[in-house]
Symmetry: none
Amino acid sequence: MQKKRSRIQIINQQKVLDAATDIFAKYGFRGGTIDQIAEMAGMSKPNLLYYFKTKKEIYLAVLEQTLNKWLQCLQDWQVTGTPEETISNYIDTKLEFSRNHAAGSRVFANEIMEGAPILKTLLGEDLKRLVDEDTKVIKGWVKNGDIRPIDPIHLIFMIWAVTQHYADFETQIETLTGKTLQDEDFYKQAKKTVKQIILGGVLKES
Amino acid sequence: MQKKRSRIQIINQQKVLDAATDIFAKYGFRGGTIDQIAEMAGMSKPNLLYYFKTKKEIYLAVLEQTLNKWLQCLQDWQVTGTPEETISNYIDTKLEFSRNHAAGSRVFANEIMEGAPILKTLLGEDLKRLVDEDTKVIKGWVKNGDIRPIDPIHLIFMIWAVTQHYADFETQIETLTGKTLQDEDFYKQAKKTVKQIILGGVLKES
Amino acid sequence: MQKKRSRIQIINQQKVLDAATDIFAKYGFRGGTIDQIAEMAGMSKPNLLYYFKTKKEIYLAVLEQTLNKWLQCLQDWQVTGTPEETISNYIDTKLEFSRNHAAGSRVFANEIMEGAPILKTLLGEDLKRLVDEDTKVIKGWVKNGDIRPIDPIHLIFMIWAVTQHYADFETQIETLTGKTLQDEDFYKQAKKTVKQIILGGVLKES
Amino acid sequence: MQKKRSRIQIINQQKVLDAATDIFAKYGFRGGTIDQIAEMAGMSKPNLLYYFKTKKEIYLAVLEQTLNKWLQCLQDWQVTGTPEETISNYIDTKLEFSRNHAAGSRVFANEIMEGAPILKTLLGEDLKRLVDEDTKVIKGWVKNGDIRPIDPIHLIFMIWAVTQHYADFETQIETLTGKTLQDEDFYKQAKKTVKQIILGGVLKES
DNA sequence: TATGAATGAGACTTCATTCAT
DNA sequence: TATGAATGAAGTCTCATTCAT
């Protein structure tokens, strides 16, 4: 039974989640501390623990929230068009997510590098289902001769890798270029190049 | 005065570094503990600290060792051939590194997600120099009409992202496919697909 | 000036005291928490603290209430009859108290095992006075040849020990026999046996 | 596998157990703190936790140690003689235990008043078996006409209650009489009176 | 070289209590 | 009268590090 949440409760819980996302993004679950989160959220540690009883509970809430945003994000994507439109749209969606939820993306990355103790089941079930669907679509394109003969799963990994890279390795990218996805021109250039190469490598020459 | 290192010392130090690489790969610097490293290395904590005085010293040694392997790896790479040969070779090199040093790759990933407190300077100097050189080469190709007009920096990021993905997200990949780069067929298929798409997207149609 | 206490106040205070008696009986003063008491009393913690300002205040009220009941209980007891009647009556009284106020008895037991920080003075004054009186009565009986020559203080301890045992070690007794003093037959049998032995050991054979 | 314990380890573990027995005797498991135990044992808190990893582990060790002493104690008891000898001997044994292990006795009392979360199983199995045996013996005496017709279980409870009372309510007894079982005369007088009454109440007049 | 013992700092969490409404 | 929100103090436990042998 979901407790009724007052206005201030919603606000404070979100403050905590935002701070926690940043901290867990940097240090992972084990490395991040409640002190850091409390300070960043601008509240005392016991007050924070009034909203979330344990560190793990905060972590789970962060994962869940990020997951929801990610799923919602993927729902925006449509498989209806041509391969070019569909892939292009998918890259748009993923890169947009990396721009708007860089910290969330890093929380996922950390979780997976820790061996995905929480998300493993989910990855093996829900995500696998999504991937299987996409794989079928791509296989259909190949069989149909719409695109070059490509191994679908590695194409999917490639798109994920590239789009998430801009979020997960933001520090490195910023150190090397002085830019992040927040920079509009840089964002456009990244999107353009990624699409250029992937579509160029996947589509048949007309 | 460099202490003379006995045979056993060298062996034990390497045992520590191997264990530490695994632990820091999973939990990052903050999240990993000396206890975990000592246990994995099969020695007592005080004995471990006889070889490395502090946790940070271990971490630095891990980073340095991984870095050396990575640089050595890159030295094997030759820019002398055609764009196709050069890029193909680069992908080979990076993917091979991901296969042989998956944990090391994840230590880097963690370090960068923590904001690269140790490596930031290095990234901004040594790595930037390497990247600048590569950028020049690619620009030359473009100007020369050898390849399509591509933004060099995003091409480089793309190759990094894709090749490292197989190391950094190993857990996710294994959960989805049941395979890792250690699987020879999977490794070959990954390499083939990555080259196919990137080269296909970069090279001009003949 | 004694605040006028409304009906609901009286009811709620009693709800708190009942819950607190149970909790302190189980965990002692230090081990019991206001949360536990509040939950058992079915009210929020701040509301509970509206009736009793501090944990200690609750504890004192519990001790006082139990004490009052105990004293009232002892007033029912009459020394007027024969030794047999008097002792028999005393055992009745004490055992009845154990049955009706098992939790209260345990609160006392805890208090005393903690070193009686609150009750020590009372024990040394009021209780000592009562014990001294009883001692005199018993000594009189002995001198008079009404009962066997018995050390009065140890007789008193014995009656206390036995009667309180059924309250304080209720869990043990229930585990061993499946019964408590709430069970009418068990209660009667306990009373009968206790009287049989003590009276048999104290009274002269006729 | 029992770790080999060095000399100092044994000494320090015993220091901890002794202190913990006193603290848990006073405040119960919930109420007693590691700080108190560490201070009483004369060592730092982390050092104490080097020997026992958790508070519960200390508590279990205390219960186990006390239990062992208690069982060893009961082994000294012989059922071989007449009812008089046997009961007399039993009282001796139990009272001696109360004198030598007053704190341990109180730890048990606390455990039982908390509902015996740890010992419940043990009480229901091992102790029940012991009690059943004793019950049979007593029943035999009754059937044989050696003693008066007494309910065995309540006789056993009575002996336990009385003998343990001197340990568990030591504070009250000392406040009222200025004596404890450590006082030799008081000890002898208690023993004499207890035996006098119980034997007087149980045995037939010769 | 190796390890049992020890500890201060700090992390997570609980709890009595207060505040504001 | 009632309760959601907040907090300082304290309690349990972990961890990097040091010491002694």
